[in-house]
Amino acid sequence: MHRLPTVNGADEQSQGEGGLPRLPPGRHGLPREFVIQNQRERLAAGLIAAVAERGYRATTISDIAAAAGVSRRTFYGYFKTKGECFADTYERVAAFLLETMAEASEGERGWNAKVRARLEALVGVLAANPDLVRFALAAPPAAGGEVAARYRDLLDRLLVAFREGRPKNLRRPSEAAEHGIVGALAALLVEKVASGEGERLPDLLPDLVELVLTPYIGREPALKVAGRT
């Protein structure tokens, strides 16, 4: 249902029902070429690319349209403002990431393994699409206002996604610890991509597993799940 929008000008590729093939998580699973019939999706992809490159505030509707390979008039056929386009796209990206994580954990038994699978899927899909990190995590805090509010909302939702299925007998960490998890996660992902090492995001996996699990199960057990003892 939720797809990652990308743009490509090349030949038509066979498409699944509904127009777009679903993107599999994981570093090497991303298909490189498919045509987007749906202009709204092209616009979303254009927005992601434009914001990833120059930040939210500096991005103009012309930038978005150009990156999407459509006219400004086409843009206005779908969105009244840049903000509207951003809200729509951000929600799609958020839903895509959360769904990717949820699916990855379905096959796992035990909450620790689920958390690990969720993180693995997340870094996998972000490594294949580093612009998503720039768009969804790096750019919004600088934009302030509603845009930054969506970012904070995404971090809240990521926390909920990690906690899903956790054993009831685990004590709940403090608010500082829980906000600390997602704040740190975002910072580490952003830094890796900003330093040009986006494709190496999966290298962070052991640190991230330790980061997310330690407040719940303690550092020694978290190290084990991270594969680090």
Partner: protein
């Protein structure tokens, strides 16, 4: 309330003439205090020079004697807050304290400032990231400096060596994010409550539980 920097706190009152420099400096400080409030309440983007001069009760001409533009004013406010914070941190630590005591004391002091002056906290923790490249760079420097400082703890506490490479960066970013969130969705928390929540995240992993309990006991008894 931000207090005046030392060199201004001895402005003479009464019949003595005050030098022009002192007056200009005094006015600049007042504008920065007012600007901090405006930036914090309206957000950097929505703040105009008009808002600042209204809050500071000066003329636009006066404003431009002190600052080139809104951004310049913001950076000066940011720098002033950070400098003030540094001064207060320096006051409260002494050379003979252990690293853990200095770290705990610094965290406690920063949280006191955060609670006492939420407008200043907001300028540093929230608005700086939205106020352009120069401000963002300053914010990043601050975060990096905090992480570097924390990193020193590894030398003193060998068992901290098993913490992941990214620990300090994660702990500082995570704590900054928590404090950022608390500013936007305020809940009544005293500085000591905040200390109780953040010290286990940022400090205890480095110094260990036993050392942490010792520091907490010292604070209670002292």
């Amino acid at each position: 309330m931000r207090s005046l920097p030392q060199h201004l706190s001895k402005v003479p009152v009464g019949r003595e003439k005050v030098s022009r420099e002192v007056l200009v400096s005094f006015q600049r400080e007042r504008v920065l205090v007012a600007a901090t409030g405006v930036f914090a309440k309206r957000g950097y983007q929505k703040t105009t020079v008009g808002h600042i001069v209204a809050a500071a009760r000066i003329s636009v001409g006066n404003f431009y004697q002190h600052f080139d533009n809104k951004e310049d004013c913001f950076l000066a406010a940011f720098d002033g807050i950070v400098e003030g914070g540094r001064e207060r941190l320096a006051e409260s630590s002494t050379a003979d304290m252990s690293w853990s005591a200095r770290a705990y004391g610094a965290l406690a002091k920063l949280l006191e400032i955060y609670v006492e002056d939420p407008l200043a906290a907001r300028v540093v923790l929230v608005e700086a990231q939205t106020a352009g490249e120069a401000a963002t760079a300053r914010y990043n420097l601050l975060v990096d400096a905090a992480a570097s400082w924390l990193r020193q703890g590894r030398r003193e506490y060998p068992h901290a060596g098993r913490l992941p490479e990214t620990f300090e960066q994660a702990a500082v970013a995570g704590t900054a994010y928590f404090l950022h969130q608390r500013l936007l969705k305020p809940a009544k928390r005293s500085a000591s409550q905040l200390l109780g929540e953040t010290a286990p995240v940022i400090l205890e992993p480095i110094i260990g539980a036993a050392e942490m309990r010792k520091l907490e006991a010292l604070v209670i008894s002292g």
